[in-house]
């Protein structure tokens, strides 16, 4: 794959920034490339996706381009005490892509956004703010609850816990509202950690029956999460997400072994949506 590190001055951040762009070899002549804006987690940068997962390999297999910004520890937010990382994402990265990468598609049906941990928050927020820009969005162990943040970090980012729940950052409520009306939403793919509190707090579970019947597409999957190896979760989530958005090309995600399932179960769980599994068994690594 062509692997580009693009340097430019970000007006929002007032500094030089790296933007990594990966272009698939299998579509070297394509000038309308589908592309995924892929956001890293806390403490990382765009290079970590490429180094710690098979992101580049998966993207080549699916014929999709990747765009990986560097968001520091900014929670992809215009920080209360810090720099404007959301403006950077939604304006500067967008402008850089439009100005310098003509082969990346301008068609919203060929645009995707996804991220890991704080990148999941950023991806969902971006998708909710600009639902017409993307066909699908993915959140992998998305840091959707600002209240679970380290207190000092929360103060720097949002000002306080209370302010973290202000309207534009309360993705739960925004999603719930959007799902009950006819708002156009990108298809949403949420991968959650086995241990995630989201699983045990039903009233915060936005992937509810309401969602499924409202005509919107939301798929939720749960994977084992080993805190000593977080990028393994990110890798599996990315493979699962890419299989969902590009189903016609090479399958990347391996469904769970049948040996763990009861003999009398006839459910096709290759979709790994929890709602389909009658035994309530989570998807295994």
């Amino acid at each position: 794959m062509a692997n580009i590190i693009f340097h430019s001055l970000s007006p929002a951040l007032h500094t030089q920034r790296r933007l990594r762009v990966i272009l698939p070899d299998s579509r070297r002549n394509d000038t309308n490339l589908p592309w995924l804006l892929l956001l890293h987690g806390a403490g990382a940068d765009g290079s970590r996706w490429l180094r710690m997962t098979r992101a580049e390999y998966y993207a080549e297999a699916k014929g999709i381009a990747l765009v990986l910004p560097d968001g520091d520890n900014g929670y992809y937010t215009d920080m209360r005490h810090g720099y404007k990382y959301y403006t950077y994402l939604s304006e500067d990265v967008e402008a850089d892509v439009l100005r310098n990468f003509p082969s990346l598609s301008r068609d919203p049906q060929r645009r995707y956004v996804a991220g890991f941990e704080i990148g999941g928050f950023g991806a969902l927020k971006y998708a909710l703010d600009f639902p017409d820009h993307f066909r699908a969005a993915g959140s992998f162990a998305g840091g959707l609850d600002p209240q679970s943040l380290d207190p000092d970090y929360c103060v720097l980012t949002f000002g306080s816990y209370k302010q973290a729940w202000q309207a534009e950052n309360d993705l739960f409520n925004r999603l719930r509202t959007a799902l009950t009306d006819d708002t156009r939403l990108p298809d949403l793919y949420i991968s959650r950690r086995e241990q995630d509190y989201l699983y045990t707090v039903p009233d915060r579970d936005f992937a509810s029956d309401n969602a499924m019947t409202s005509g919107h597409t939301i798929k939720v999957s749960r994977f084992d999460f080993n805190s000593a190896d977080p990028w393994s979760f990110a890798d599996r989530s990315l493979a699962w997400f890419l299989d969902r958005i590009c189903p016609d090309r090479a399958q990347l995600f391996t469904p769970p072994a049948a040996a763990d399932c009861p003999d009398d179960c006839h459910t096709d769980c290759s979709d790994d949506s929890l709602a389909d599994c009658p035994t309530g068994k989570p998807t295994k690594e």
Binding site: L9, H14, T15, Q16, G43, D72, N73, Y83
Partner: protein
């Protein structure tokens, strides 16, 4: 000689960070310059916009170019701790894994603009680490006429680096950030670095540079050299004057072919 691009996770910063490194042929025995960028730059800027690698090769020195965003190379009151990273974590890594020297005699620090302030500040706060300091187009920024109380704070220096209220900042006299205070706190007994400063006569920071030079020159024990020239706050000046700095540091009659125009 070789060129390295380093990306590493910093426990101090809690962030993946980038450093560009020019390695001398024998890094352990060669001088090592910690070279700092200006506001709005990053770790790649010196290598892109000057011929620093060519000069480093010529003088046989290693150069370490970290990226430090808008931190002024300090432990930000609201933000990552770049001073601790640069004075502790990074040199340990570079010494252990690239063989770069830790001895004072082989270490120098220099920078432009925000990095010039950073070099003076870090060099004078940690004089046991460096034998020479270079400051290009800068000085004690707290007394620069552009930075007066109640003005805007586009780089976040007042609110994020110093942690002050931008409407009523207490700048002058701050022992951590005011270079004159840091200068006054230098122990007379400790070995002190030699200091070099240069500024262009069309530079908007010329007054700040001169005021700082006056104070440094007046210090009874600090070897100090200052020069001004035609030029402004730009990369033509910095490409020329990093060479002048290296000439001064090596104190030889070496001349380089002038390839930059003004």
């Amino acid at each position: 000689m070789s060129y390295l691009q380093l990306s590493l996770y910093s426990e101090t910063l809690r962030l993946e960070t980038n450093v560009q490194v020019i390695l001398a042929a024998d890094p352990a025995a060669s001088p090592c310059l910690l070279l700092l960028h200006g506001a709005s730059d990053n770790d790649t800027i010196w290598a892109r916009w000057t011929s620093i690698e060519r000069y480093a090769n010529r003088y046989g020195i290693s150069v370490v170019m970290p990226g430090a965003h808008l931190s002024a190379f300090a432990d930000m009151r609201r933000g990552p701790a770049y001073e601790t990273f640069l004075m502790r974590e990074l040199p340990e890594f570079l010494h252990r894994h690239l063989g770069l020297p830790t001895a004072r005699e082989l270490n120098l620090i220099a920078g432009l603009s925000m990095g010039g302030y950073g070099a003076l500040r870090l060099g004078l706060r940690h004089p046991e680490r460096f034998s020479a300091i270079g400051c290009f187009s800068s000085g004690n920024l707290l007394v620069a006429t552009g930075f007066i109380p109640g003005t805007s704070d586009p780089y976040g220096w007042i609110s994020l680096v110093m942690g002050e209220d931008i409407n009523n900042p207490a700048l002058a006299g701050n022992p951590d950030f005011d270079l004159f205070e840091i200068l006054a706190a230098l122990h007379a007994d400790a070995p002190l670095p030699r200091v070099y400063m240069a500024c262009g006569r069309d530079d908007f920071l010329l007054n700040c540079s001169r005021m700082t030079a006056e104070r440094l020159a007046a210090h009874p024990a600090l070897p100090f050299y200052y020069e001004e020239s035609h030029g402004a706050h730009d990369w033509n000046f910095w490409d020329r004057y990093v060479k002048h700095f290296l000439d001064w540091y090596t104190d030889t009659e070496k001349t380089l072919t002038e390839t930059t125009t003004d």
